[in-house]
């Protein structure tokens, strides 16, 4: 019971913060470009940062 709660909380936190986005990105990458090497976590992070730089993100009061 307890481990289930801990796992659920960990899952939710990882999803909410976008930490799990890399795993999904790799999966998608393999599906669309099966032969190309998957970017490393560091490379992915650089890509993501570049992307964030050009987007605005509303936060309300």
């Amino acid at each position: 019971m307890n481990t289930r709660w801990v796992r659920a909380a960990r899952w939710y936190l990882r999803e909410l913060t976008g930490e799990s986005a890399y795993d999904r990105y790799c999966e998608r990458h393999r599906r669309h470009h099966p032969l190309a090497p998957v970017p490393t976590r560091r490379e992915y992070q650089a890509l993501r940062t570049l992307h964030q730089e050009n987007r605005s993100h509303s936060r309300c009061c």
Partner: protein
């Protein structure tokens, strides 16, 4: 399970259960409202407020939101959402609805629902509660859900684009300028709340200041040391943050205290400098980690507050309805209940700013159309509950203390004696001793005239929390915890808002000079960031130095601005409903639109034309200008310079309100023309809804492709 599979007895058993459950919820809610309405003279427990609100939310979500979704919006789960059709793994991604609810809630809820209700408590807890609950059910949550739905059907277009495409070019342009101007006011006022909370408080200034190195550390951790490990970095960040609060006490008691004791003006320049640096630094360094930190603190503290209110069950010490509700002479904000209560409480009841969030990121992530009810309506109900808790925290304070903290400095003076006398003049009592004790309990130099809502809320929260954990010994910790958490929210909004403003300005100026529109041209970024920061910095500075009390002057401006944004959003919604042949249901957004137009235009009218210098900006201008000509200095101004400041500020504020009203009138006028044309037209007018594409995601929980947030 689809309903057709159920056999008859099971179905009837289900409906009996359904009726029993909702009868019980209704009864409970009704009893709680009854207790609130009938309690006169005796003090009641805050738990009744919680039950009344939660009962109403449950019924509204189950029945009204469902009705609006099913009858009016008619979501179709066989239709692919933009997240599915345009999936790119970055902006567009079908996301688990529980995760998206968390994202959306974190994006809409900030300091707004915590500040407004605290100020509105001067009219008693009952009017505020009624407006927060009824407003969210029939206006705020409806607006959020409908905008979310309309934007989702249009590939996640922004409110400005929706206005331009569905209403017309004049309406669209007016909406764009209004959104920008409103955001500037909003940032200025929010930053002012931080200044008022940190002025002359070394403890608060240190712990809030520490959030910057903590965020930088987290940024480097997530970017360089262990890329992408957000959860661990956030946990470390939260731990450091708690340490920073504890550390603030040492600083206050050490020789460093003077270095962290800043005047409001010094804080204003710190915030302006910080705002500029934060908006030009790479996002990963400061903005992103601060956002994570603030989200964690937000969800954690709000949960803690809810538990605290239920466990401690504090008594409401404020009156249900005070005489300021009818006389309109309250010291916290001037003007009578209608319309000023409804603009003072914006966030938590109806907040136009949400329309910007609901038409930006969130609609690009929705997995199934029917989820707009949970995400749009549900998240707003949650924000409303935050507002109720803020109201409770303020209403549990002794009224004498409440007024000693929230009346303008000019009225209260600077000593405990003068404040005590001023409060007595308002009809409440607090002895100088009690005032000194209250400040000592939270280890602040003074609590006199700490307007802006944050310190009041923090005192209320510290009473509730220390009842549950730690007793009086922990009161000062909890006070500074609450201050820190509010400042953290606000600074996150200031960072993010400055960036959003910069993008808007670049977009607008890009039409005049092409390179300015490029999002990666550094001089353009610096120039536009600087302009945005200078604009809100101006209001922050005038607010911090205004002899009449910045919050008292600027908060109505902020409230009117926010509600006018809601008027624009609801106008867009109503226009689309009419254009798409749903004139019959147009009242769903039309009635809230009529209401918000009535309150904003009445409030705006009074702010411009009222002959009472306490309410009307131009009357105030004349009052002070005449006195100055006659060579007199009117209190609370102390010098001729002060008099000039008041005159300039009231002119600027009055002109701004007139400008806002004009812009919104253009949007509404343009929309009315479109609506009449649509109602008269034999064939529906064209809308910009994206064409139907069949969804390949079967049902929530059983995706054809991996979902964001799908559990393995």
């Amino acid at each position: 399970m689809p309903e057709t599979v159920l056999d008859a007895p099971e179905k009837s058993r289900k409906s009996v259960k359904f009726i029993l459950l909702w009868t019980a919820v209704s009864l409970l809610g009704a009893v709680a409202w009854g207790v609130l309405a009938l309690a006169r003279g005796e003090r009641i427990s805050a738990v009744w407020l919680v039950i009344a609100a939660l009962g109403s939310y449950a019924i509204a979500y189950r029945f009204y939101a469902r009705f609006v979704a099913r009858r009016v919006l008619r979501p179709d789960d066989r239709r692919a959402t933009p997240a599915e059709r345009l999936e790119d793994g970055v902006d567009f991604q079908p996301t688990d609805r529980r995760v998206l609810l968390g994202h959306h809630f974190a994006a809409i809820a900030g300091a707004g629902p915590l500040v407004g209700p605290v100020l509105a408590a001067q009219m008693g807890y009952l009017p505020g509660t009624l407006w927060i609950v009824a407003g969210v059910i029939f206006a705020g949550a409806v607006q959020d859900m409908v905008v979310l739905f309309l934007s989702m059907r249009r590939d996640g277009k922004s409110l400005g684009q929706l206005a331009r495409e569905e209403i017309g070019r004049a309406g669209g342009a007016a909406a764009l300028v209004a959104v920008f101007a409103i955001m500037i006011i909003l940032l200025g006022v929010l930053a002012l709340v931080v200044v008022n909370a940190l002025a002359h408080s070394p403890w608060g200034t240190f712990s809030v200041g520490m959030t910057i190195p903590i965020a930088l550390f987290m940024g480097f951790w997530m970017h360089r040391t262990r890329p992408g490990r957000v959860v661990e970095a956030s946990l470390i960040g939260v731990a450091l943050l708690l340490l920073a609060i504890v550390g603030g006490r040492w600083i206050q008691e050490s020789s460093l205290a003077d270095a962290f004791t800043l005047s409001p003006t010094a804080l204003v320049f710190c915030l302006i400098g910080y705002g500029f640096v934060a908006s030009v630094l790479p996002v990963w360094m400061l903005l992103a980690p601060r956002d994570y930190l603030s989200t964690f603190m937000k969800i954690g503290t709000i949960a803690l507050l809810a538990i605290g209110v239920v466990v401690a069950a504090p008594e409401l010490r404020a009156d249900a309805v005070t005489e300021f509700a009818t006389s309109g002479t309250g010291p916290v904000f001037a003007g009578s209940l209608f319309p000023f209560l409804f603009i003072t409480i914006a966030c938590g009841a109806l907040s136009g700013f949400h329309a910007l969030v609901a038409s930006g990121t969130t609609p690009k992530l929705i997995q199934k159309e029917s989820q707009v009810r949970m995400i749009g309506y549900g998240a707003m109900l949650m924000e409303s509950f935050v507002a109720i808790m803020a109201l409770i925290a303020a209403a549990t304070l002794e009224p004498g203390l409440y007024y000693a903290m929230n009346a303008p400095a000019g009225l209260l003076g600077t000593t405990a004696q003068s404040a005590s006398q001023a409060v007595a003049g308002l009809g409440f009592t607090i002895t100088p001793d009690q005032l000194a004790q209250a400040a000592h309990a939270v280890q602040e130099q003074t609590l006199i005239a700490r307007s802006g809502g944050a310190p009041t809320l923090a005192v209320g929260m510290s009473e509730i929390f220390s009842d549950v954990v730690g007793g009086t010994a922990m009161k000062a910790f909890w006070y500074h915890f609450a201050i820190m958490f509010e400042a953290l929210f606000i600074l996150t909004t200031v960072d993010a808002g400055t960036r959003v403003g910069r993008f808007m300005l670049q977009d607008m100026l890009g039409n005049v000079f092409k390179p300015l529109g490029r999002v990666n041209w550094k001089p353009g970024i610096w120039l536009c960031s600087g302009l945005v920061v200078a604009a809100w910095g101006y209001f922050l500075h005038t607010g911090a130095t205004d002899p009449l009390g910045g919050i008292n002057q600027l908060f109505p401006l902020f409230g009117i601005a926010n509600q006018l944004l809601a008027a624009i959003a609801l106008t867009v919604c109503t226009t689309v409903l009419v254009k798409s042949g749903r004139l019959r249901w147009a009242w769903v957004t039309g009635i809230p639109l009529a209401w918000v137009t009535a309150i904003t235009f009445t409030a705006g009218w009074q702010k411009i034309f009222s002959a009472d210098p306490k309410i009307g900006f131009f009357a105030q201008r004349e009052h002070y200008a005449d006195a100055l000509d006659a060579g007199r200095v009117l209190t609370p101004a102390r010098t001729a310079d002060d008099m000039h400041t008041v005159i300039t500020n009231s002119t600027v504020d009055g002109v701004l309100i007139a400008l806002f009203l004009l812009l919104v009138a253009v949007v509404i006028g343009n929309a009315a023309v479109v609506c009449v044309r649509a109602a008269r037209s034999a064939v529906p007018l064209p809308t910009t809804e994206a064409p139907y594409v069949e969804s390949r995601i079967d049902a929530p929980g059983r995706p054809a492709e991996p979902l964001v947030g799908a559990r393995r």
